[in-house]
Symmetry: C2
Subunit: 293 residues, 2 copies
């Protein structure tokens, strides 16, 4: 057995380059064929600047109007600037805010539960999976993974990685300033129990660099100087128009996205020696985002 990892080095760059070029051409063709991008509305787009990098969140006022309203107000008030992610459990959540969720005094008002909403035939709803393990049905509405119970006529945002929701105490109506981003396998047991109000559309790699706390200490970082900190959080609409970056996400209401779902459901590549079961985990469907000048 060769001990030399560099045996292949003379040829690997050629192969890599070819592989990447082919990949790009193929993706390019498919993109031209099928992918349509939707530009985010600046009033529902939040830029979170951190020393680790830029994180962009799309807010969802359709599902959590009061939570979004308060979060936007807090962002505009520069409330979050300088605050840290003080409770971070690897594989679970990164929680930031002023810590009032843990019992500190605060005069920021509480927000009532916004756990689910009435089904509406007007939604840009794309069906993903039925039955799902945690709900009768899952789908996607405007880039957000949702779960649905047709018998009750209800639909709710579901706890996929990258989702942004409010922390709370035992009372369902105790959301305030502290929010969390899901950074691990979807904790879907929290569905219909939290005010989910947004999702990270850009910079999840940055979120994954947020400093973790000790699992045995409930993820709480004791030494505040060690925690990852929000330098500045602002709405995209607050930035002068000429300085704004544009944010796009894949338009999940368009044919191209449906084709992507079908391809994932029916994997025809030779690679799959054992054909996967024809099911989709709504949290394992990538919905790309990008930013441009």
């Amino acid at each position: 057995m060769s001990l030399n990892p560099h045996t292949a080095s003379a040829t690997r760059y050629v192969f890599w380059t070819l592989a990447v070029l082919c990949g790009l051409i193929s993706i390019g063709l498919r993109a031209a064929e099928v992918t349509i991008w939707r530009e985010l509305n600046p009033v529902n787009t939040v830029f979170v600047e951190m020393p680790e990098g830029l994180v962009v969140i799309e807010l969802n006022p359709a599902f959590a109007p009061e939570t979004v309203k308060q979060f936007k107000q807090l962002a505009e008030d520069r409330f979050y600037d300088g605050l840290s992610f003080y409770r971070v459990i690897d594989g679970f959540v990164a929680q930031g805010g002023d810590g009032s969720d843990l019992g500190g005094l605060s005069n920021i008002p509480l927000v009532d539960a916004e756990f689910e909403i009435d089904w509406n035939e007007e939604f840009n709803y794309i069906h993903v999976q039925s039955p799902d393990m945690f709900a009768p049905e899952t789908g996607i509405i405007d880039g957000f993974a949702v779960a649905r119970d047709p018998s009750r006529g209800k639909v709710w945002l579901t706890h996929c990685p990258g989702i942004v929701a409010m922390a709370r105490n035992d009372s369902p109506d105790s959301s305030r300033t502290d929010f969390y981003i899901v950074i691990g396998q979807a904790p879907r047991y929290l569905d219909r129990n939290m005010n989910i109000f947004g999702r990270v559309v850009y910079g999840m790699d940055v979120v994954q660099r947020i400093k973790r706390g000790p699992t045995l200490g409930n993820g709480i970082i004791q030494d505040e100087t060690e925690s990852s900190r929000i330098s500045k959080m602002q709405l995209l609409s607050e930035i002068p128009e000429e300085d704004r970056l544009k944010v796009y996400v894949v338009d999940t209401s368009k044919k191209g996205f449906k084709k992507l779902l079908e391809d994932r459901l029916n994997r025809k590549q030779k690679f799959f020696h054992n054909k996967p079961p024809k099911v989709l985990d709504v949290c394992q469907v990538p919905i790309a985002g990008r930013i441009t000048k």
Copy 2:
């Protein structure tokens, strides 16, 4: 609405400290009551040293004997020292090795498919969920999430976050040196298609800091100087006994772990305003690891 994030600062530390203390006491009591730790066998424990930190992998020769044999030999040969994670897609996988998976020449032998094994009544098997969306049944054997098909008498390691598996080409028998770690929502459609041979038991936060590549370029990092690199990979058994750290994982065959599963299946806390459905995602069950001198 208050604009001052520091209103609560006078009291928050007291509350945090109390919360953490109570958490620790409660966890301590529960730990004393129920959690039993299993020390890893040094011959199946791999220390991966990176500038980002230490990652510890437990190998699983019961499910992938030939893959483990070759990986151990490569580690002992210092094959991986200096190699990089050259293909890293956020939310999916971090892939490292010599890149021969992408077509470069290599004289390292290929390893045949080790996708599933025969069921054996002697396994330390803990049932988790039946039916699961991707398999008739899921469970845990010695800390590893597995899926099972009783009708075929087969069981296989399943693609949860932290799992370590071999990359391959279209041939099922083309595993070689390139391996990947799952860093996002479980890509379970890959189950029964890859040689899974280990899992990260310590340092997933470090794995999450591995430099990502561009999604549109299939995650391949073009500039090798930018990629995260393995400084040293060695078996714990290669380290002189007096210098070895000890690695422990929760013993999933013991009563304490069964209790944890039951508690997660039947969430009785007042917090859950809407009781979650009585199902468990086998990839969302935490199985703790720790290291000590």
